[in-house]
């Protein structure tokens, strides 16, 4: 039991303290409806944070997540919007289209970063621009809305009071946990993140691992994009802007550090729910949308600062220990 407490990253304690504050002061915060609301709102960002989590674990970052989600959302929405009474195959193909769009972007990211060794964040940042641009070209500035009930039911249908999207998020997370904690590929992600050179010298195909990581992140973003359309019942050229920033924050709150190779996706899962809960609390306290953006920005920056400073302190401590022993 003691071990588990030690494993919870320090940032999470601070965040939990904040949630405690809301529990006491925010009206209706612990309402069953509000808790389900929080779970429902965190579901899609959990899925996307899994992709962000593995990229940060591998020591890099995928900035294209928000853009890819938007492109996938818009393109799949264009497909399903014309169909009045979609059959199961129609809905399945909508999801395949969305995931495919994400896969194409992930593939390109992976190809350019893993194979050709381009600067990772510049490539993903440019890919974000391209994805938003494509979304704009497709929608031509219009909002696509009004989808059939059966398509929306994929995420909003309640099973035992809890909407489907939560179950989907849990399933995807379980799969990702299995992938990172239990498989050889997961070990390789950690190895590449901790030290690319060591990983390469011990026989790991670093480029292959990196390629799969970006491909997975793209696929997850694409999936998140379609779910977003189904859940919010509309799609536009900026429907998911800034999601990569939120995902980054979730991952860092969960104890995965920018240095790579440290932490785990379980943290990203918890971090996503915690950040959503905090934002929900702020909303209940009556903070306007604009203030929420300022607050989120400052909160995330604080998290990053704490993370960077604590990593540095740890490093200097370790060097001192080495010197003492020598």
């Amino acid at each position: 039991m003691n071990d588990i407490f030690k494993k919870i990253p320090g940032l999470m304690w601070g965040s939990l303290l904040m949630i405690l504050f809301f529990v006491i002061f925010a009206p209706n915060y612990t309402n069953q409806r509000n808790i389900i609301n929080i779970l429902q709102n965190s579901a899609i960002i959990i899925i996307v944070s899994m992709g962000m989590g593995i990229t940060i674990l591998s020591g890099q970052i995928d900035m294209s997540i928000g853009g890819v989600m938007t492109a996938s959302a818009v393109i799949s929405a264009m497909y399903i919007a014309h169909i009045q009474e979609p059959t199961v195959t129609d809905i399945l193909s909508t999801f395949l289209i969305g995931i495919g769009v994400g896969g194409v972007f992930g593939f390109l990211n992976g190809l350019l970063i893993a194979k050709y060794k381009f600067n990772y964040w510049l490539v993903t940042f440019a890919m974000m621009s391209i994805a938003y641009g494509i979304a704009q070209v497709v929608t031509q500035g219009k909002v696509i809305s009004g989808f059939s009930k059966s398509f929306r039911n994929v995420t909003t249908f309640s099973l035992g009071n809890i909407p489907m999207v939560v179950y989907i998020a849990v399933l995807v997370s379980l799969f990702m946990f299995f992938l990172t904690y239990k498989t050889k590929f997961g070990m390789h992600i950690y190895a590449v993140g901790a030290s690319e050179k060591c990983a390469a010298q011990s026989g790991i195909r670093v480029d292959k691992v990196r390629f799969v990581i970006y491909l997975l992140s793209g696929l997850l973003s694409g999936f998140g994009g379609v779910l977003l359309v189904s859940k919010t019942n509309f799609a536009s050229a900026n429907v998911a802007s800034g999601q990569e920033f939120t995902a980054m924050a979730n991952v860092i709150i969960g104890g995965i550090s920018f240095d790579g190779g440290k932490g785990g996706l379980l943290g990203a899962f918890a971090g996503s729910i915690i950040l959503t809960a905090i934002l929900n609390g702020l909303q209940l306290m009556g903070l306007s949308n604009y203030w929420q953006q300022v607050f989120t920005g400052i909160f995330i920056l604080m998290i990053i600062i704490i993370d960077v400073v604590s990593q540095r302190v740890k490093k200097t401590k370790n060097t001192r220990r080495v010197y003492k022993n020598a």
Binding site: A126, G242, Y290, V294, V308
Partner: protein
Amino acid sequence: MLKTTIHKNLNKHSRLLLLIALFIFFSIFTDSFWSPTNWSNFANIILQQAPFTVLLSLSMTISIILKGFDLSMGADIALVSCVVGFVLRATHSPLLAILAAVGMGALIGMGNGVLITKVGIQPFIATYSMNWIVRGVALVLLGGSQIYDFGPTFRPLFLQSQYTFFIISALICVFFEFVLSKTVFGKYIYAVGTNKDAAELSGINPKFVQFAAWTLCGVILGIDAVMYTANLGVAEPVIGDSFVMTAIAASLIGGTSISGGAGGVYNAVVGALILVVLTNGMIHLGVPSAWQQVVVGCVIILSVCFEHLMNRKRD
């Protein structure tokens, strides 16, 4: 000997050749872009579009020389524009507005500088977080509304002569060319950008150089934002969304190296002109403006690709 000189010059000015090629291409294939009898679009590019892009690109180039990318650029412009609007509505004094803009720009630049040098966050993460905070502050200040009331003297000051924007940008470029190539501080910037540890060992304080350079970047953005607001005639918190992409694409296609320590005002200006000519020419070709963002993203990836190939050749 002659061959190597030609080769060297070709390499150095390959971007200028690209600019000229693009210009000729659009002149031939569209009727309205440029012809010996039709200078109106050319004047529009040089006097109305390029001055702003050149300053954005210059600011980005300086940050790239220091191995950092300024992703807070678009939000900076938006916030400074809002501050300018507030000051003008309250006082109607252009001088105060300009001072406030430069001050605000410098302040954001310093914020970036502190996060990068004192705290030690990677530049792109630090400035990306700043981007969200600064944009949020701009939205809180104006809350989705706009300011039109600039008083009687502010806009005429800039719009009286159509050459004002061009002259201001040109002066700033000349000043920074001087700073970067003729002063000790300029040499320090290149030294820190090339190799921070080596620079520190040779007695340079890299943290101070970085901090000062980031502040200067902020000042350039402040000036750019004043001109942009004067030209647009309205202060609103949502402008400048695509500026970061444009600036990165302009700097990189101008030949500034992403590995730091190389590039300069020449690259920034040529890159900005290439991008402006490209986006303007595309509109004259009849490509919908929605495609612009896609093209800008592709330009970034192609420049990275190009630099990569050149490096491999050299090795």
